[in-house]
């Protein structure tokens, strides 16, 4: 058995208990792997695993490239959430400033700036998964912010490979990077399906083919003197494909990725020279101050600045705060940048350590702030730290008509539209409450009366004249929102929405007149259809015809493509 196998074995054996801890306390795995790595560092020679770690980096960036949603790029630009760029500039500068203030030379301080500015997609987006699948505003916002940062990170890695900031080499690097991307597009268009045909129905060969493709791109990147990460990103773009046709391939790649990425994070941890344990006092304190400063910048200053910018862009305080809170960690891309810079000799050990330690700490803190984000927001709002901005709500809302015995509809998604139609048909007055700028146009065009504000805020309800309303229908599938509405104790009847049965029951218990739980309704419908088929009342083909006719009668084209 080789020394390398012993090393890898030790890595994974040590990682085991840490992963159990991560699972037990619902923490992200990345920081715990890094921490496990610091312990592994005592037993192994990390230089041995650096090459494997590079494959980890390559696969990490590769899968980012594979998963990239090109239409998302467009929608981000359209939503003018490029405001995220401003946040990166501000926080990045602060990071550089922090480094300079602590006596770090400018070249290295730049890396602190990068570490402070970029947030982790793996951690941040994973924490927000529920919000993203439910298409809540803060989920979408956070996703866009992370996405822009990731793209910038790739760009930065590219520039970093120039090993200098002179215009000449940087331009060359950008040229090489561009060439790789063009190659990726060509491969994706002409070669990928050929690989699929050659591999036939063999997942094994397909995976092998794609890994080879990755190796070729990484090799080309190395040859051009560009970071392997850039090559891997291009390879990812080259392999982008509808996963359905190649299920085995994409599942297989995920296993391979998980394995090597774990080695990467463990190696990063192993490279850290632990303060106090491995070095003297003064050096340790210096390192911890740097790490602490970076962590503070990331956990407190970055969300604050992001919130401020989002508020300025016209988002209401709650969504802005919640989205910003999801970006309060150091990015895994910053880890990649740091390790590359360390290897290239652009970064000294102590700055590297500070970045890695800050990353591990902030990733853990981030999962805690996510857990308590609604409370953090409430505390901030109640202390008056967030501008209430009633003027803005007044300005954007339209509640001119007489509003007595009206229905208040919260949310103008698919359900909201149906409810508005029902009110229109019945000539019942209604007000729609909505907070998503992306839906504003539709609301203005289609609703008689609307309040553009956050349903969590008292003022929004005053504006909607809830005291004289007869019914409040919330179509928002969010537990905090539902509880908040119940806590207002409206005189009007209140119906809510929930996706979880237990929560639905709790909400009923707490005083809701009705809780719409889509799954229960769907289950009812499903049973009736299945029974008709099984009882031979209807052939499957006839059912299909009937269903298709019904489907074609759904006519809300403008909402079909929105995610």
């Amino acid at each position: 058995m080789t020394e390398l196998l012993t090393t890898i074995s030790i890595m994974f054996i040590v990682a085991g208990p840490f992963l159990l801890v991560a699972n037990r306390f619902d923490l992200p795995t990345v920081p715990l792997l890094v921490i496990a790595g610091t312990i592994v560092g005592f037993f192994i020679d990390e230089a041995l695993t650096l090459e494997l770690a590079q494959y980890g980096i390559a696969l990490l960036v590769f899968s980012f490239g594979v998963d990239i949603d090109l239409s998302a790029v467009r929608s981000v630009i359209r939503d003018s959430e490029v405001a995220a760029l401003a946040q990166i500039a501000v926080v990045g500068s602060l990071g550089v400033g922090l480094g300079l203030a602590l006596g770090v030379p400018l070249e290295e301080a730049l890396f602190l700036g990068v570490a402070a500015a970029l947030s982790s997609t793996l951690v941040g987006t994973a924490l927000l998964r529920t919000e993203i699948t439910m298409n809540l505003l803060q989920g979408r916002l956070a996703q866009s912010i992370h996405f822009i940062q990731d793209l910038l990170a790739i760009l930065f890695v590219l520039v970093l490979s120039a090993e200098t900031l002179d215009a000449g080499p940087v331009t060359t690097m950008l040229g090489s990077g561009l060439a790789l991307l063009v190659a990726a597009v060509l491969v994706n268009r002409y070669l990928f399906d050929a690989i699929g045909r050659l591999a036939g129905d063999s997942d094994e060969l397909m995976i092998l083919g794609v890994v080879s493709l990755l190796a070729v791109f990484v090799g080309a990147a190395e040859y051009a003197g560009v970071s392997v990460a850039v090559g891997a990103f291009a390879a990812g773009l080259a392999v982008r494909h509808d996963p359905v046709e190649y299920l085995g391939l994409f599942n297989g790649l995920e296993s391979i990725k998980d394995f090597f990425v774990a080695i990467f994070f463990l190696t990063v941890g192993a490279l850290v020279v632990l303060p106090f344990v491995e070095i003297g006092w003064s050096e340790s304190v210096e390192k911890l101050v740097l790490a602490g400063g970076l962590a503070l910048l990331t956990v407190v200053v970055k969300p604050a600045i992001t919130t401020a910018i989002l508020l300025y862009r016209g988002y209401e305080p709650r969504s802005a705060t919640l989205a910003s809170l999801s970006s309060d960690q150091v990015s895994e891309f910053a880890l990649i940048i740091a390790i590359e810079a360390l290897v290239l000799g652009l970064l000294t050990q102590s700055v590297f350590d500070a970045i890695i330690l800050a990353a591990a700490v902030t990733m853990i803190v981030s999962s805690l702030t996510k857990r308590y984000d609604e409370r953090i927001y409430r505390v901030l709002a109640d202390r008056g730290l967030l501008p209430a901005n009633h003027g803005k709500v007044d300005e954007l809302s339209d509640v001119t008509g007489p509003l007595v015995d009206h229905v208040i509809i919260v949310g103008y998604g698919r359900h909201g539209q149906k409810l508005v139609e029902a009110c229109d048909a019945d000539d019942t007055p209604y007000v729609v409450i909505e907070n998503d700028p992306a839906r504003r146009e539709a609301v203005v065009a289609e609703c008689d009366a609307y309040v553009f504000g956050d349903a969590m805020e008292q003022y929004t309800w005053e504006k909607a004249n809830v005291d004289d309303a007869s019914l409040v229908v919330s179509t928002i599938d969010s537990d905090p929102v539902s509880r908040r509405l119940l806590s207002f104790e409206f005189d009007a009847d209140l119906t809510l929405r929930a996706s979880d049965r237990t929560i639905a029951l709790e909400l009923l218990e707490a005083g809701a007149l009705y809780v719409s739980q889509p799954d229960v309704l769907a289950g009812k419908q499903l049973v009736s259809r299945i029974r008709r088929v099984l009882d031979d009342e209807l052939t499957p083909e006839a059912l299909r015809e009937e269903q298709l006719t019904e489907l074609n009668s759904i006519d809300h084209p403008e909402f079909q493509h929105r995610r």
Binding site: M1, L4, F12, R24, T29, K418, V527
Partner: protein, 584 residues
Amino acid sequence: MVSEIVLTVDFAIILLGATLAGFVAKQTGQPTIIAYILAGVVLGPAALGVVEVSELTELLSELGLAFLLFLLGIKMRLDDIQHILVPIAKISIPQMAAIFLAGAGLSLALGFDPLESFLIGLAVMYSSTAVVIKMLTDKDEATSLHGKIDVGVLLVQDIVVVIILAVLAAGRPDGLADVATTLAVVLVLVALVTVAAVVASQTVLPVVFRRIADNKEVFFLIAISWAFLFVFVSDNINLFLAPLGIEAYLSIEMGAFMAGLAIAQLPYSKELQDRVNPLTDLFVMVFFVSVALDLEATQLLEYWQEAMIAALVLMPVKFLVFLYLLDWQGFDTETTFLGSINMIQVSEFGIIVAAVAFEGGFIDAEVLGFMTLLAIFTMAVSVYFIEFSHPLFERVEPTLSKWMSEGEFEGGKREYRDHAVVIGYDEVTRNALPLLADHYEDVVVVDRTVEHIDTLEEEGYDAIYGDFRNSTIRKDAAVKKADFALSSSVEPAVNKALLREVGEDATVFVEAERVDDAHDLYDRGAHCVIMTPYLAGDRLASYLRAYLAEDERFVDAINDDVELLESSDPFPNTYERLGGDLDD
């Protein structure tokens, strides 16, 4: 400080070479193992000489074998193999003795000296774990009866290899007593590792894996971590035992197998198979490529004629020995034939034994070359026999069955047919399950949540834990033979995979979130696409209309819904009442 990292070109070349060879093999209908071995011969010093064994490739090929055995372990449920343990012992020991005699005798006849002949005899006794298990896995026969017999025999051989390697590594043995001690120690160690694995599978593992099963990434990494624990302990057992004054070795393959075996006894093993499989494929590829990477052409080819003769004699001898022994143990003709034809090659362990003997100064490099060539050649030939074992059997069956005894062993389990497959147990599907159970003999539910699996099994449904996107899971649920399929997943990938796999006559109900997904699913053959959000929106609007019109039915309707919500029965048998719409 770290020095600059340069990714080795060797691995990239191996990847590319193997991929190209693999594509050619696929297009011409050859097994991929052959492609990998040939790629190694061409890339290695024997031909082009562009690749050398690097630390990375060595690691990956070691991992390849370890993962292959780990994967195999994951597939072995003890209940399934208990009844064949005795026959396996009775087959493997005489088989090795017979082949040893044949191999040593043949070598003497070919002009090798007595010590060389003795060692060659020791090296040819085993069949190739890598080839047989890889082929069995590719053909999906690892858990068939003949597959299990072969695997069992291979493991016994593995133990013997470990003992022989230990003896060889210790230098020239001082006598029989020395060999006997090593033998005893290794057997005790194997027993200890087995006990550790079995105890863990009864105590710690169920608790741990139950907790982590719902977290895909942690689940996978912990399983890997568990495998490495066994690999590490087996490999370093010498260090652990040194204070006791005992010298002993265990193979990492043995450790990996035991680690897998412990997990196999848990209900989550199926899901893990699909996660470990791709890594194994990748690493095993490196293993096969590097088989031929070590040798110069001259060393490899010095005894090529002898190697060919030895191969042509040993393969039929191995086949006949296995055929006789399996038949003697009372397996049916087909199992006997298939189980024997799989095992006719000389193992990669033969090369390892020869390599250790070479390092110990027992034999020359040319004899090592002879062993390597013999192993590569027999592996390559046997792959074709394994690939086409079934058609071959059909040809020879009439002749064979004349002189072979009747089979006494029962094998194989009942398979699903015309059953109902349900993907995802949730609020939408739980009402439908009793209805389906009334109409179908078998209702198989695939779900990724441990608690759901427990609930389902308590109710008597067949539950499979795993992600439907994995092919093993789909195969397990026998989706192809289902008469009815219902998916409550809104992921288009899952539903499209389902629609692609079901038979033509199956009725398929799926769910979708968006209109264009629904259209797509109908285009692909779905009979009914449930669209929960739209449905709920319509329903909510009709409730609002009823509310505004002060219709009494509003109260009834919402009371009905609330009642449904409140029923904590996981399988409400209330479907009789369900289905009444407000608008009907």
